[in-house]
Amino acid sequence: MERKLYTVSEVTKFIAQDKFMILTADEEILENLPKGNWIGGTIEYFIDKEGGKQSDQMVFVDDQTNEGTNFKIAKYDADKMETLSSDSFENGFTVVIIPIGSPAHTNFALHSLGYPDIFSNPVIGYVSGTNLDNPDETAKIFNGKTGEKFDDGLVALHVELPAEKTARLDIINIFTEKEDSDTISFQEDGLVQKECIVNGKVLDLIDYLKSVNHDTRFPMIANQLGARINKSFLTLNEETREVGLVAPVFKDETYKLAQNIDDYEAQFNAAIKAIPKTNYACNCVLNYLYGDFANKKVEATGATTFGEIAFQLLNQTMVYLVVE
């Protein structure tokens, strides 16, 4: 099935056909869908076939039915997520959804790479969110099998692949480090930081970012042996001096500031042309916003999310899965 937005009526038919799907839509839409072989998350920003689109009426469908030979749908509480990969199949992949701002979100962000067997199969997915104009809403996840919705924990669709196929997970990060960026580190792991360390000196992070005229639409980047991992800025509170980050920084990692990007659309479209057809993909809502994707044709269809998952929590990144 083509990865794109569908009407509720169409999705209801897919559920009746026992398709195994990841469904992304507004909360009211998801809670009124029939029970079935699906997991879901709340988001109403998408990259559809024609380009960026906000909708609280339609459902983005990622159907895995034709790829898998067996499936399992499961919900994990925030303190039980470390069993995620142990529950996956011998050969396959797992798609997960976690609600933003939940204990599960923080737990996964800080600890996922330490979960047993996390690398045994690709773990891909997203962090669900809310309408950006209604910050008081709470992000939700759904277990379609039981019809339950949750504001904490993780829902997973484990997919088994036939022996001759392998799932490969990869990312597209259009950001690169500024050549003249300082090397930045932090004293503690976490999603909120007040201070950073630059050239051996402990500095107020907000003051430092101002001193180097950094545009905080663009992230800090950790280089994990070639994998560029973004840490985006969410809030800068001048009173408390706290900087909120979309993905946590770690005290044993160093970071550089990202270069500004002038043309998101061209950058993404060029990167996407270089990859094969994806079986699953999602992109960051910050790219949707800062790149003005609502009014542009970007080739990478998928939900635009409040955090992307590729074994670990990422942001301002596109994650994708290819079955080969």
């Binding site: 790479l113 490969r168 044993d252 590729a310 080969e324």
Partner: protein, 78 residues
Amino acid sequence: MANSNIPDIQREEWGKLISGEIIHEFKNYTLQVQLNRLQKKVKQGKFTAQYAKEQLFSLCSKYYLAANADLISIFKTW
């Protein structure tokens, strides 16, 4: 641990990848992230170099198709 799809685990390059003596930026995201993590764990004393080597070898065995270009670049032949 014999697997003709990838170099034998006895090859010294595996250990050098873990210790950082061979610096290679894998093209494959999964290998980049896992090797980065393994190197950190060994430096922190949480994993032995031998255990980390086995973990890396195991991952490359499973994803030998995706790892092939990187392995050729590092090991040349096997």
